[in-house]
């Protein structure tokens, strides 16, 4: 983990409110693992005050670039969206504990909304490691859907779900995934990231499926490096519950250990 000044190489609005930001920073590009995040300084340090965390969505170690995908939701992401090629961005990273591929084939990635970012990186890296990968990706409608195929090598099997049925299957992500299970899909392990209600439903269903399942969680952050205890989530371990830090022990947790 380092504090780096990264050069903005490219920034594009890739779907409505969604931006893809490519940064040039060889150290980050070479060390970041799927599931890890960067803590970015946005603005002048007064308002917005705190850094903002974003999952790494992909890296090109060879060219020394690293990619983020973010949704514009408030003042911080608004400022980020105004970056231009050639600007510098102060980053802390890579931070947090990455995903670990432990289970059997195929790996199934379950992504809701902006939660797709870390799973794109994970999918790409598992594909490179020779695994079979399915991505279930849900959003409200076609407009909100990222063109994920642009960020993935061919080989990952993509299943879209939109709540209005405008693209892919009609319905929410967990229903569409359950349908696929009914049709015979037999995942070896699950990786999920997205809004908390979605993760809760999936974790709950997984008590029946009993698959190895990792989730990437979000919590408001201050330091991002483990010093302030601000990003705590409740975890159960050996019959006890205790708080763990999303920025340090997480953001990736074993779904069965999270107190949902």
């Amino acid at each position: 983990m380092k504090q780096c000044q990264a050069l903005v190489q490219e920034i594009n609005e890739v779907s409505s409110y969604f931006y893809c930001l490519t940064l040039e920073e060889p150290y980050l590009a070479q060390t970041a693992q799927p599931g890890q995040f960067l803590h970015l300084r946005v603005g002048n340090g007064i308002a917005p005050l705190l850094r903002r965390p974003f999952s790494v969505a992909g890296t090109s170690p060879a060219t020394g670039t690293i990619r983020l995908l973010f949704r514009r939701v408030g003042a911080g992401t608004e400022l980020l969206s105004c970056l231009r090629k050639g600007d510098w961005l102060d980053c802390l990273g890579p931070l947090g504990t990455p995903f670990s591929a432990v289970g059997k084939d195929p790996a199934v990635l379950l992504a809701g909304g902006a939660g797709v970012a870390p799973l794109l990186f994970l999918g790409e890296s598992m594909l490179n490691a020779g695994k079979n990968v399915h991505l279930f990706y849900g959003a409200a409608d076609a407009k909100a859907l990222l063109p994920v195929d642009r960020f993935l090598s061919p080989g990952v099997l993509i299943h879209f779900a939109t709540e209005d049925g405008s693209v892919g299957e009609h319905g929410n992500l967990s229903d569409v995934f359950k349908l696929a299970l009914d049709k015979g899909l037999a995942p070896g392990e699950l990786f999920a990231c997205g809004p908390l209600p979605l993760l809760r439903v999936l974790a709950n269903e997984n008590r029946r499926w009993v698959l190895p399942m990792q989730v990437s969680l979000e919590e408001n952050m201050a330091c991002g490096v483990g010093a302030c205890q601000g990003c705590a989530v409740l975890i159960k371990k050996d019959g006890e519950t205790l708080y763990k830090r999303v920025c340090r022990e997480g953001p990736v947790f074993n779904s069965s250990e999270v107190v949902w």
Binding site: M1, K2, Q3, R41, G45, I46, A47, P48, L49, L50, R51, D90, L92, E219, N220, M221, A222, C223, G224, V225, G226, A227, C228, Q229, G230, C231, A232, V233, L234, L242, Y243, R248
Partner: protein
Amino acid sequence: MSSLKTRIAKLELETPLLTASGTFGFGDEYASLMNLEGLGGLVVKTITLLPRSGNPPPRLVETPAGMLNAIGLQNPGLQHFLEKELPLLQNLHIPLILSIAGETEEEYAALAEALEGCTGIAALELNLSCPNVKKGGILFGTDIVLLGSLVEKVRAHWTGTLIAKLTPNVTDVVHLAHAAARGGADVIAAINTIRGMVIDITKRRPLLGNRFGGLSGPAVRPVAVKIVYDLYEAIKLPIIGMGGIMNTNDALQFIMAGASAVAVGTGNFVEPRTIPQITAGLKEYMEKSGIKDLHELVGAAHES
């Protein structure tokens, strides 16, 4: 050559820049981002007698030019600190200031007793923003009688430098500082956070798991500077000033208001190198202004 050396009671510091308790962990998290030995001193996060698990999330939220936190003093407790953290901290060649808190006078006293004689602890800081469970939950730091008696009890067990860290959530901080002084405190630290709340208008309830929290960051700086200024006029004890310090100019405001040392809290989150940057900035300011000794600046805003 200008000197950044400062002295708070018996404690000699190479620079006046400290970490604010609870914002720098036990130092290890920041070790890869900066040279910890450049700090004037390390104030570690508050420890309690027994481990504390802290408050339910969300524990923090950003506010305009500030943040609210309600960590709930999560910490591994005294035993773990003595066995696992202190040995590592003793290897750093900078003054180590230990912040302690309890729910009763006895807990504070027991902590002081256990720490007395430990090598490598330069000073004890009393976090007084804790409710006294025996006295119906009144904060130690808001009641002159509770505060005075508490400091006295700790003083009886601790011979080293004793810092009373005051809460700003009172009608008259000066009265409380006097009580701390009478109880035997050597140094006053100010300010701890200001109580505040954010309502989550989507969920229609307080946003923080603990409902309310403590406000810190640039937003509170004017409040903190005023308190340091008032303390300097009223009491003889040296003051550690803090609250929203982000850069050299902010630190200078506190020093001129009367602080012999300053601490950076929220600033570390924004820019981990805030303390080294201010250290260099102060030195540059003093050299430009022909100031040899930091003490020439302490309280300078009072002279006219």
